[in-house]
């Protein structure tokens, strides 16, 4: 592999991530539910008011400045020795800078906060707890990983005694595994754990998250939003299965035959871009879909928000409410869902999502 070409390829990936993150952070205040502005419950028309527009303008200016600084750091890394450090520093700068811009906007919104509606509504149709896509679709990713495991078992003799499993930004391998059960099957096990984790989240959205709007246009668009989210999660499971299957196959390649990691990163990035585009079109809870504004049952007396009280949110990011039986709630500043950290089940879910892949990776590392 040409190291300089690899460097340009990997830096291009950094630039795509920067661009994507910048666009998302720039647009985010307008992608949330209309009565939640910078994660604070406000009247639905506040964001279109003079004060609302001014807060947004200042936030976006800060996002732009931080993104440009991050871009400069990544571009600078092309001409100097500390490539990895500068590129990663650029990403961190952007993420932290945008978060600070969000935190700086919140105190300007707070004086306009209003109490959310105390009226709650629920559908009386039972929702059967089932896996998104049913068993047939859920088995697919694990079948892919199992098929690769069988293939590796059948070609065990062709696996070199030592093969690369991790690469630096320069495209050179910096981590190796030996021909052992743990070394060879580790990527497949991690892949299975990741797929199971994503499946658990998808199941949680269908069974552990409340529906915020039930009737009229908002109810229909929220249903469509959920279907979209679940489809994206199932697609993510398949993408992850293919990605880890690809990594698993690398055990059969020699150092000279190693393909560029870009070959796998590009599809992941393309999928991520598509996912972001879809979510920008739907908005949080389907609030940007055309049917959201149509057929609203009764104009609410107070903003419904996401039917969680502001006081249980820490910085508008972490929801901690022991009295709320919902384990999964909608994000207030973002698109998708987050956990109710006041529920012990949430900590068990986090433990499973983090510890299981980590344990598998650590066991394999001991065989490197």
């Amino acid at each position: 592999m040409n190291p300089h070409a690899t460097l340009i390829e990997t830096q291009s990936i950094f630039l795509v991530i920067l661009g994507l993150n910048g666009v998302l952070m720039y647009l985010l205040p307008r992608l949330t539910r209309p009565d939640l502005y910078f994660a604070i419950t406000v009247p639905a028309d506040f964001r279109d008011s003079v004060e609302g527009a001014d807060i947004l303008r200042r936030y976006r200016l800060e996002v732009l400045i931080h993104s440009l600084i991050a871009l400069a750091l990544v571009l600078l890394s092309l001409g100097v020795r500390f490539t990895e450090v500068l590129s990663v520093a650029g990403l961190f700068w952007q993420v932290i800078g945008c978060f600070v811009a969000y935190l700086r906007a919140r105190p300007r919104v707070k004086p306009h906060a209003v109490a959310p509606a105390t009226l709650r509504e629920a559908d009386l149709e039972p929702r059967p707890a089932r896996l998104p896509g049913g068993w047939a679709l859920q088995v697919g990713p694990f079948a892919i990983l199992a098929a690769v495991a069988v293939w590796l078992q059948l070609h065990w003799a062709q696996i070199p005694d030592r093969f690369p499993v991790h690469w630096g930004l320069d495209g050179k391998p910096n981590g190796w595994a030996t021909r052992s059960i743990a070394g060879v099957y580790n990527p497949l096990l991690v892949g299975a754990a990741v797929c199971a984790g994503v499946g658990l989240l998808a199941y949680g959205i269908t069974s552990w998250a409340r529906r915020i709007q039930v009737r009229g246009g908002p109810g229909r668009s929220e249903k469509r939003f959920r279907r979209t989210m679940l489809s994206l999660l199932v697609a993510t499971q398949y993408l992850m299965a293919l990605l880890f299957a690809w990594v698993g196959f690398l055990a059969l390649r020699t150092q000279e035959q190693m393909p560029s990691p870009v070959a796998v990163i590009v599809p992941v990035l393309v999928f991520t871009v598509l996912m972001v585009v879809v979510l920008i079109r739907t908005g949080q809870g389907g609030s940007r879909l055309p049917e959201y504004a149509s057929g609203s049952p009764v104009p609410p007396a107070a903003p419904a928000g996401d039917r969680t009280p502001d006081r249980y949110w820490i910085a508008g990011i972490f929801y901690v409410n022991r009295n709320d039986p919902a384990i999964i709630v909608e994000k207030r500043f973002g698109i998708g869902y987050t956990l109710n950290f006041g529920q012990p089940v949430s900590w068990i879910v986090i433990g499973l999502l983090v510890l299981v892949p980590l344990a598998i990776a650590l066991i394999a590392r001991s065989h490197h």
């Binding site: 009226l119 709650r120 009386l124 039972p126 009737r215």
Partner: protein, 133 residues
């Protein structure tokens, strides 16, 4: 067919479990459900309404006591056929008293007598048409 949706005001004067009982009973009487239909599980309804599980469990228990629900373990809440009990003088006088109280409360809150009369007419029309069981 009436909407199979429940609304509860968490800041209302009436306790949440009683609101759930009132709404569900109204829907049962209006024929929104058939015997054999299932209601959401206690956990699901509590989560959707943002109330404690015990609140929904208590509401379901009261409705089961009234003969609307079958709460067999592991089968959720099933609506059952409920024959109307024979008319009781106590129930009738209690209804008349509560209607008087409710009317007085509505008038005290500024509801126009004509509006009230219209609502009562509409209700009477539904009852004459067999809208109640």
């Amino acid at each position: 067919m009436p909407d199979k949706v429940i609304q509860v005001d968490l800041a209302g004067d009436v306790p949440a479990y009683q609101q759930i009982v009132n709404v569900l009973r109204t829907q049962f009487v209006a024929g929104a459900f058939q015997p054999g239909d299932q209601l959401p599980t206690v956990r699901q309804l509590a989560m959707d309404l943002g109330v404690h599980h015990n609140t929904v469990a208590e509401a379901y228990r009261l409705l089961a006591q009234e003969g609307w629900l079958d709460l067999r373990r592991g089968r959720g809440a099933t609506i059952i056929a409920r024959p109307n009990p024979p008319p009781s003088p106590e129930a009738e006088s209690q209804f008349a008293r509560r209607l008087d109280e409710l009317t007085a409360k509505a008038l005290a809150e500024g509801v126009e007598p004509a509006t009230l009369a219209k609502q009562l007419d509409s209700l009477a029309g539904k009852l004459r048409g067999g809208g109640g069981r």
